[in-house]
Amino acid sequence: MDMKERMKLPRHPMPEQDPKVRARNFDEVPLGYTPETAKEEALRCIQCKNPTCIEGCPVEIDIPGFIKLVAEGDFLGAARKIKEKNALPAICGRVCPQEDQCEARCIRGKKGEPVAIGRLERFVADYERSQGEVSIPEAASPTGKKIAIVGSGPAGLTVAGDLIKLGHDVTIFEALHKPGGVLVYGIPEFRLPKAIVASEIDYLKKLGVKVATSNVIGKLKTIDELFEEGYDAVFLGTGAGAPTFMNIPGENYNGIYSANEYLTRSNLMKAYLFPEYDTPIVKGKNVAVIGGGNVAMDSARTALRLGADNVYLVYRRSEKEMPARIEEVHHAKEEGIQFHLLTNPTRYIGDENGWVIGMECLRMELGEPDASGRRRPVPIKGSEFVIDVDTVVVAIGTGANPLIQSTTPGLDTNKWGYIMTNEETGQTSREGVFAGGDIVTGSATVILAMGAGRKAATAIHKYVMNK
């Protein structure tokens, strides 16, 4: 195909489950490219000499490099190329905000649509997995250094993968009974199948990473005790897991959840399969979800799949300010989520048994830009109205969980409780202790957590080898 023809190829849409059908099941929404579509989409990439897409990628994947291999049909080669920089492509291909990263910088997006880099990444990773056993590289000769990683989210997993390949003895300590962090307890099955996360963790285990689940560090043992046990360095990748509530009257009524609880019940505990699984969840008919991020979208779409008649997404700003990925907003709308924008709850109304039955809201208008650069929502006086609800999910953000910070003397945190580090190395104020991911930045993204993990792994390697 010559360049002219390649320039004419339109961006290939992602085949998806029909919105009506998928709104009632937990199967994955996008179905993935076929090898033919992938090859054709790959031909849209013009192999720039100075690829700007790479600048948009937090871990600097050789994007034209892997896309070229896809175009040539060497899908396994493409997978290897991506994995030089990104150990978890099946996950990133699904959950990265490519529209703000690589694809936002793709030259083809200047006139027309960018190359579907994320979809190609996903295709390549899925292809590799479908080929059965992923090959295990030969073990590096042991260094005799022991590294403890606290938290098994994307940050911790990245550090583990990098350090085990360098020959260190690596143990991940995870508070929950399943490793994966937000990837298993937060992001729903229909967006990120748990089997994919499990296979990535199996791969790490095969490389020799030890995974100690149900180990709450700070409770069962402190960071100092880990050093006493002979660990040479500790990485903290504990995430930003503490839920935030609005502190408005009635917020503890039955039927009102934090997004973390709602999603954890459904995803980690598989409450959507109750009573085959023991953990219950309130299956509301009229569900309001408060917030405008990915977490709010995931909660709203989960509510629908649990059988709600009406799911309202209540957000105090306008759609333009929503932090959620465009694709997720689009999916949510297609599935029938009802958006109540410029609306903010002020109190809940309950019945005599303590169940929520209504939510009083105020209408808002946009004023001057605030510190985040987004226009500040201002309440309109006297605009109160009530929405009938039987379930509410509060998805307005999370904060730092103080379990470790409060039991580790000398570990500096900022005023929000996040751990302070050297950005380039992840080094904390305590010798031998490194940190990265959401526990440093506050809730961010999977890829940024992985990027921080990569930097920390390099610094940890240097630190333990010079010790």
Binding site: H177, T213, N215, P243, N252, R265, M269, P275
Partner: protein, 283 residues
């Protein structure tokens, strides 16, 4: 962490004691703390107070009443069986300090929870009065153990079949306060209505009272807020901020309501369990 059952004992019709092999937790735990258990892959996570632990033997003891599917399943385990997860020690330990005379009140299956607290209070040099209550004589738990860690022991039964005839709160008022005993501190653990009654009594006499709360939990690490409860008008997470709080500040009505969120599903789960069990052994 998986954990093996080392000992099992049935204490009354619905109350069981299990001793688990859990060396690390046994070494770390302090009075007032709890563990979270998950029996099998499809299982839920439930919190249980650590009734006792032996750091030398590396064992952790829990005592529980069969109230739903998970506790029923747990009661069916035998010595040698393993559960998938035993997590802990969770929660803040009891604040133990020498204050003078401390009354430690346990009602029903609250007794095993108050036992380590009484033990700690006594070791700290307090004069410990224990009040152990239940509906009737057969349901009184750990009488000998409680006797061993207290200076005075009072038994109260609702039906008068043993000891004081009435509730523990009445025993506290009639047998201790009104008899002129100077009480500096009360710790009360048991069913919510019982803790409420105790708090109503001690409030009248201005006696500081600590209660240990048992809301529904999921992760027990402060990540979900399932366990939240209003204390002094502020929302607190029982799993990390508690489980012990100033009883005079707790919104007990809210706690009771929140404990009942899944009443219907709990029944459904139990029915499902029983029908599965009849069919093919159950999970």
């Amino acid at each position: 962490m998986a954990a093996k059952v080392l000992e099992k004992e049935q204490l009354s019709e619905n109350v069981f004691k299990l001793v688990f092999d859990a060396k690390k937790i046994a070494k770390k735990r302090k009075p007032g703390q709890f563990v979270v258990i998950r029996i099998h892959e499809e299982g839920e996570r439930i919190p249980l107070t650590i009734a006792n632990a032996d750091p030398e033997k590396g064992t952790v003891t829990v005592i529980f009443q069969t109230v739903g599917k998970t506790t029923t399943h747990l009661s069916g385990l035998d010595v040698g069986d393993e559960i998938l997860d035993l997590v802990g020690p969770m929660g803040k330990p009891t604040h133990i300090e020498k204050v003078g005379t401390v009354v430690c009140i346990g009602g029903g299956v609250g007794v095993p929870c108050v036992y380590p607290i009484a033990q700690g209070m006594r070791e700290a040099g307090n004069h410990v009065i224990a009040i152990v209550g239940a509906r009737n004589k057969d349901l009184i738990l750990m009488e000998d153990e409680m006797k061993a860690v207290s200076d005075e022991l009072l038994i109260a039964t609702d039906d008068g079949s043993y000891g004081f005839h009435g509730f523990v709160s009445q025993a506290l008022e009639e047998e201790c306060i009104k008899k002129g005993k100077k009480i500096d501190h009360v710790v009360s653990v048991g069913p919510v209505p019982m803790m409420m009654a105790v708090c109503n009594t001690t409030k009248k006499y201005n006696i500081p009272t600590i209660v240990s709360l048992n809301p529904i939990m999921v992760d027990a690490t402060g990540m979900c807020g399932a366990c939240r409860v209003s204390v002094g008008g502020k929302t607190r997470f029982v799993c990390v901020d508690g489980p012990e709080f100033d009883g005079h500040e707790v919104d007990f009505k809210q706690l009771i309501d929140r404990q009942r969120i899944y009443l219907d599903q709990e029944k459904e789960s139990m029915d499902h369990y029983c029908s599965c069990k009849q069919g093919r052994g159950g999970k």
